[in-house]
């Protein structure tokens, strides 16, 4: 028998809900993200004091922060399940797909929230930081974040299975997300320089197709990570 689509959505939501309430209990990722963001931001603020830096450095820095934050926060969703052996409970309760999308959703939303906070703080704190086209700035941030979260999710699943932690995570992720990062940095830079909202149209195209590609691949591949 095949799972009805509405059922599928309900279950994805259920997985998402589980992760969210678990996170709210333990505040694991939240803590890591919060601590990291605050510290790095203040370091940057401190070390930039007077120095006026070119626009694309701002864009670059912003994304370096987001990337690092993702690395220190998002990896856990799968790892904890594996560490505590609760993954078996999941496997006895549903199929791979809703689990993957549940966690993907969780990561995306978490990272979106983080990006929002980070960007606001960043723009408040750094005077040199100005945006020409808000629309395209937001579009870039959104697409970039979603892409980053998608990549981190599948890599997180890999890492969890490998019972390997910490350093291996960025090592595996970086080559994967690099094209994304470069593109989104470019897009952000454009948004900070060019008032036209569609100035970075090509970049959006690249970003969107990247997101589509990686999620399609993850969807196909996750099945194999999932079973045994």
């Amino acid at each position: 028998m095949i799972m009805k689509s509405d059922g599928f959505i309900r279950i994805t939501a259920a997985v998402f809900r589980k992760d969210t309430s678990s996170e709210l209990r333990t505040r694991y990722a939240l803590n890591a993200l919060f601590l990291f963001t605050l510290t790095t931001l203040s370091i940057i603020l401190f070390s930039f004091q007077s120095a006026t830096v070119p626009v694309q450095v701002h864009a670059g820095l912003l994304w370096v922060l987001i990337f690092f934050a993702a690395m220190s926060g998002l990896s856990r969703t799968f790892i904890t399940e594996e560490d505590r052996g609760t993954i078996l409970l999941l496997k006895l309760s549903t199929i791979s797909t809703p689990v993957f999308y549940g966690k993907l959703l969780f990561n995306v939303l978490l990272l979106l929230a983080l990006t929002a906070i980070l960007t606001i703080l960043y723009s408040l704190v750094l005077p040199g930081f100005a945006v020409m086209s808000m629309t395209s700035f937001c579009i870039s941030l959104f697409l970039g974040t979603v892409g980053l979260a998608s990549a981190s999710t599948i890599i997180g699943a890999l890492i969890a299975k490998a019972n390997a932690r910490g350093t291996l995570y960025p090592v595996l992720s970086f080559p994967i997300v690099l094209p994304l990062l470069l593109t989104v940095i470019r897009a952000t830079t454009i948004a900070m320089e060019d008032p036209a909202w569609d100035a970075a149209m090509d970049e959006y195209r690249v970003l969107v197709s990247y997101i589509v590609a990686i999620n399609a691949a993850s969807y196909l591949v996750f099945e194999y990570i999932w079973k045994d």
Binding site: M1, I11, K18, S22, T26, G85, L88, L89, S93, P98
Partner: protein, 222 residues
């Protein structure tokens, strides 16, 4: 009672090219119960995992049919309830939350009263709002039973069913066992003779001593 039937043919499992058991075959239909015995490390849990399709066998096949239709490995879990030492609960959640959240993920929505009932069955109702981290070993084991039993699975897999349970808990376990007989299959992996004798059939996996050594399975007598 749904007409459920499980057929295991020529099952073999190797870990890193080291055989644990080989050529396991049996065939159970609704109402039958099977005991898997054998020394530590002989492959009981591994066999259960394969049956629940949590692991894939190195050779051979497990086929589960319900009312004549064969269920794909992918969907086995829907008909499986499992209690095992290596199955862990969400420690940061309360007993009730564990029930509800897992139930939602399973896609089946029971009513609040049904949850209560479940908790009452394993007599945890008074602790429903305590987080599982603070539970005693036996209380955790009881909660696992509630989870496994909630959907009245056609196939109940019990790995070392009496671990951590007190006499009262064991009685609960036994009543479950009997009830399940009424509507499906029970497979028990155990070291305790008392559990084994409850079952109609029996397979003994005789890992060569010492238990450490790779076990080579042998089909038990019918």
């Amino acid at each position: 009672m749904t007409d459920i039937r499980i057929t295991v043919a020529g099952l073999r499992k190797d870990f890193n090219r080291r055989p644990v058991f080989s050529d396991i075959s049996f065939d159970l239909s609704g109402g039958r119960t099977l005991a898997i015995s054998g020394r530590n490390g002989s492959g009981k849990s591994t066999l259960l995992k394969i049956i629940a399709s949590l692991l894939s066998p190195s050779a051979g096949a497990v086929s589960l049919t319900i009312d004549g239709v064969e269920i794909h490995r992918r969907w086995t879990f829907r008909h499986v309830g499992m209690v095992a030492p290596y199955l862990h609960l969400y420690e940061e959640f309360t007993a009730l939350e564990n029930l509800t959240l897992i139930d939602r993920i399973r896609g089946s929505n029971h009513t609040a009263s049904e949850y209560e009932e479940m908790l009452a069955m394993v007599s945890l109702e008074r602790r429903r709002h305590d987080v599982v981290r603070t539970f005693s070993s036996g209380m955790k084991q009881r909660l696992k039973y509630a989870l496994a039993w909630m959907d009245r699975p056609g196939l109940l897999l019990l790995d070392e069913p009496r671990t951590n349970l007190d006499p009262e808990g064991i009685t609960t376990m036994k009543t479950l066992f009997k009830e399940q007989r009424g509507n499906g299959i029970v497979i028990v992996a155990t070291n305790e003779e008392d559990d084994a004798v409850m079952c109609d059939e029996r397979i003994s996996l005789s890992g060569v001593p010492p238990p450490g050594a790779p076990g080579t399975g042998r089909k038990g007598g019918r």
